[in-house]
């Protein structure tokens, strides 16, 4: 099929693509019929529960599992960590108890007796000097760019130091600032875990995973079998957000216990174990000085930032500092801190939300000190954006401003009226993302009864992947969504990449459109003669195949397929990540604006209105696409106002690792959110680009800027809790 030219229908031609369809699995999810990993109950299954370390840093002195093994209902106890093992964060799993019930497993866990030798802890990731004194810091890279380059004889560091200082001194407008954002956790509502069955040398693993096609190997390796003997299934996943790419040591432990006991095993992390072990987003704190010209165009940026990604150190990559707006002269330096917290995992647009929150707040502060409209200052800097798409940002800024009523409502920072102590403000932020299509293969069958069935080892995180697959197939064949069967969620289906980096919609659109166009070409060849036409003259629309421009020379879809007899059409088509394609692309922008009300007496911030304008190339499924953006904004509002991992400096304990204490936004907290898909023909013609991550980037910065606009002072570190708002108002931030 090398001669088939793959393409998308135009906006006018499209019947299904771009139409507002309900997600295919909506009713299953809303009625409780959808079975998640946690919900799969296998006959005679054991329930496993784990003991997590109560200490953040210690070695294991002794382990005694006798009492646990003798607990009524307990069938098996597996020790994961040996005596002498060094525990480096609270909650690290030490032993697993498999029992006849949840309650018996939980009781068994309390009967595992461990003694520990406690060690020093360090969890104060915002405190750079304390971290240095504790020997917990390490350089994490940096970069300097100056328009004037050093001469051959110059010492580069000395030259950059002098040049940055010269540019700063020469700038008519200067700003020094401090900004930060605390670590948050993924907090998947379905915790990490698996329900597994080892039987006759084969393993069936229901795994809550973003990586159906890529996790079988880990089970196979641990159990000394081949990946052919492992099937990973995930029809539904209760949240991943970047934290569920691996089988994880608790996943393979469940498989080992199933093999050992000969019974299925369900092993899901408890809530606190989920928050402590299964993923968090690195913190970041940044000090900067910037110099700008009289238009507010930043000429020089000089920053140092620090933070932690957990036990292995690291933090926010220096590569995205400053974010989107990249002045002609800059110096950036990153320092990583090793703390006694669980290690970070990829979190929806890794590095970008924190970089945005730590640097676009400085751009807004520049507007504050210059007494200018923040819109104008951001717009003035669009000549220096990292992805070169200043025109797209400006167009999106205008759309967002129109929707939120920026011109009518905006006031200079701190200049708005106070109504009973409540002041209002507006802020904006810009973001960027890649979203390239991942590798994906689709196997497609068209049978003589007219049925269409696809198989692909991808997964639907709730993004609407299943629906997108069906929409692409239905569009191509001129059918409706009910006429096609989409199979995803098993490692036995053809390989499709992990769902990370906003790569899935591109991946499945590629593989399904290619397979469908290939299959349709074969069907056209079968029926062309009957219609006295050439295959390339045929089109498939509205349940029929006809000659383009001549609807009378037609055959219904069913009649066409009936000519296949016992020979179904079976094709397989692939896209390889990175290959140029007319169907997909990468590189998006996005603009968000927030309007807030701040109570200066209580410090409480309320979201009044939030506008998100997002481009993502060609939109296959507007309804689920918009849902991604709403969700990203709400997640961002939570990070801006509520969520933070709180670690006790004395013990290293993660003190709020339950949902009663780990504050997330609730329904009444999100205000009015308006989502606008930016899809002019220039964007649509680029092809499909992922959008799961980009809209999750800007919210914290946009909210921070709106709070600053309201108050006239910056609340430096997110989340912007009432306490921090009041401290900022009292000049104590």
């Amino acid at each position: 099929m090398a001669d088939t030219k793959y393409s998308w229908p135009t906006r006018e031609e499209a019947q299904i693509i771009g139409s507002r369809r309900n997600r295919l699995d909506g009713m299953e999810k809303s009625t409780g019929a959808a079975k998640y990993t946690y919900d799969v109950n296998l006959k005679d299954q054991l329930i496993a529960r784990a003991l997590g370390s109560p200490h953040a840093h210690c070695t294991i002195a002794s382990i005694d599992i006798k009492a646990a093994e003798q607990t009524p209902g307990v069938v098996h106890v597996e020790v994961l960590r040996k005596v002498g093992y060094e525990i480096k964060w609270q909650g690290d799993l030490i032993a697993v108890v498999a029992a006849e019930s949840e309650a018996a497993a939980a009781e068994g866990v309390t009967n595992v007796k461990i003694t520990y030798n406690e060690m020093d802890v360090f969890v104060q990731d915002a405190e750079l000097e304390l971290a240095r004194k504790a020997g917990r810091t390490a350089p994490a890279g940096g970069k300097s760019v100056t328009q004037v380059e050093p001469g051959d004889d110059d010492d580069e560091d000395e030259f950059v130091e002098a040049e940055i200082q010269r540019l700063y001194d020469a700038s008519p407008h200067k700003l020094e600032g401090y900004y930060g954002i605390d670590a948050i956790t993924h907090c998947c509502l379905e915790p990490h875990g698996s329900t597994v069955q080892w039987k006759d040398g084969k393993l069936l693993a229901y795994l809550s995973t973003q990586n159906v096609s890529g996790t079988d190997e880990a089970f196979a390796t641990d159990l000394d079998m081949t990946s052919d003997d492992v099937e990973v299934r995930c029809e539904y996943i209760g949240g991943g957000f970047g934290s569920k790419f691996a089988a994880d040591y608790w996943g393979v432990a469940a498989a080992r216990i199933s093999k050992e006991t000969g019974r299925p095993v369900k092993f899901m992390l408890s809530r606190d174990q989920e928050l402590k072990n299964a993923g968090n987003r690195p913190s970041g704190y940044l000090k900067v000085r910037i110099g700008a010209d009289n238009n507010g165009v930043v000429q020089v940026w000089d920053s140092q930032h620090w933070g932690t990604a957990g036990v292995r150190g690291g933090g926010i990559s220096q590569s995205v500092i400053p974010y989107v707006i990249q002045p002609p002269n800059y110096r950036r330096k990153a320092i990583g801190i090793k703390t006694n917290n669980g290690q970070a995992r990829a979190w929806r647009a890794p590095n970008h939300p924190q970089a945005c929150a730590m640097t676009q707040t400085a751009i807004d502060d520049l507007a504050r000190v210059m007494k200018k409209d923040a819109f104008d200052v951001f717009a003035a800097n669009l000549g220096n954006v990292a992805n070169g798409k200043g025109d797209v940002y400006l167009a999106e800024m205008k759309v967002a401003a129109e929707i939120i009523g920026w011109k009518d409502k905006y006031h200079l920072h701190g200049q708005g009226p106070s109504k009973g102590g409540v002041v209002e403000g507006m802020g904006l932020a810009l973001h960027m993302w890649g979203g390239t299509a991942n590798s994906s293969t689709c196997r497609l069958v068209i049978r003589s009864d007219g049925s269409v069935e696809s198989s692909c080892g991808t997964q639907d995180l709730g993004t609407g992947t299943r629906t997108v697959c069906a929409m692409v197939l239905a569009e191509t064949f001129g059918l409706d969504l009910d006429d096609v069967t989409v199979n995803i969620g098993s490692s036995k289906y053809p390989m499709s990449g992990a769902s990370g980096g906003s790569t899935t919609v591109g991946a499945v659109s590629e593989s399904h459109r290619r397979a469908a166009q290939d299959a349709l070409q074969i069907l056209f060849e079968k029926v062309a003669g009957q219609l006295s036409a050439k295959p390339e003259e045929l089109v498939a629309v509205n349940g029929a195949i006809h000659v383009a421009g001549d609807k009378k020379r037609m055959i219904s879809w069913k009649a066409a397929c009936s000519r296949l007899g016992v020979q179904s059409i079976e094709v397989s088509a692939s896209h390889k990540r990175g290959d140029a394609s007319p169907l997909s692309n990468s590189g998006v922008c996005g603009v968000q604006m927030a309007e807030v009300a701040v109570d200066t007496e209580t410090g409480v911030v309320k979201i009044k209105k939030f506008v998100a304008v997002q481009d993502q190339g060609l939109v296959i499924s507007p309804k689920t696409c918009e849902s991604q953006i709403y969700g990203a904004v709400i997640m961002g509002i939570a990070a801006a106002l509520y969520e933070q991992r709180i670690s006790d400096p004395a013990t290293g304990a993660f003190v709020n690792a339950e949902l009663s204490d780990y504050k997330l936004a609730r329904l009444g907290d999100v205000g009015e959110i308006i989502v606008e898909l930016y899809e002019p023909e220039s964007e649509r013609q680029r092809g499909v680009i992922g959008n799961g991550e980009p809209p999750a980037i800007s919210p914290v910065a946009a909210v921070s800027n709106a709070i600053c606009n309201a108050l006239g002072v910056r609340v430096p570190v997110a989340p912007y809790t009432p306490q921090r708002v009041l401290e900022a108002l009292q000049g104590r931030a």
Partner: protein, 199 residues
Amino acid sequence: MTESKRKVTHGGFHRRAFLKGSGAVAAATALQTEVASAVQQTTQVAKGRMTIDLEVNGKRQTLEVETRDTLLDVLRYQLDLTGAKPVSLDGSSGASTVLLDGKPIMASTALAVACDGKRVTTVEGLDDTVPAAFVAADAQQCGFCTPGFVVAVKAFLDKNPNASETAIREGLNGNICRCGTYSHVIQAAVSLVKGGSNG
């Protein structure tokens, strides 16, 4: 939660009123006896087993449970009704919301024995009105919180059939969604009020 007073409920629950005149009274008597004897055994209580009667989604169930079993465990493991989810065992997520005698409770914080003789309605036992509104508004993403939200919205609108959007925003804060579907849950609830199915 242990309140035994039966309340006349709105909407789809009248069809289960038959229980009023059937085994409920007998079951409640049995419960009192068994609990009394269990209490006397003090520490043995945790591992005791009891037989309870529940009416689950209109069907009478006689179940042998451990006294320490939560209603959520019994629903999920004995009856394979997995719509109610274990998200936060302290009930702070709302994901295990079910109706007990028509009132919303968290199945994760209710002991099964305390529900003896009562009517339990899980998301699987609701008609499609609220789920369909969720689908139309796309008030779901990963969907793990959705069944709890569906039951919460059902209970809220049964009690407040003409709720304003403001009342909806103020009255549905017991459930957590991590994917961020709140805007669309509000939209779904508003559409149900406007659709008149709760009026």
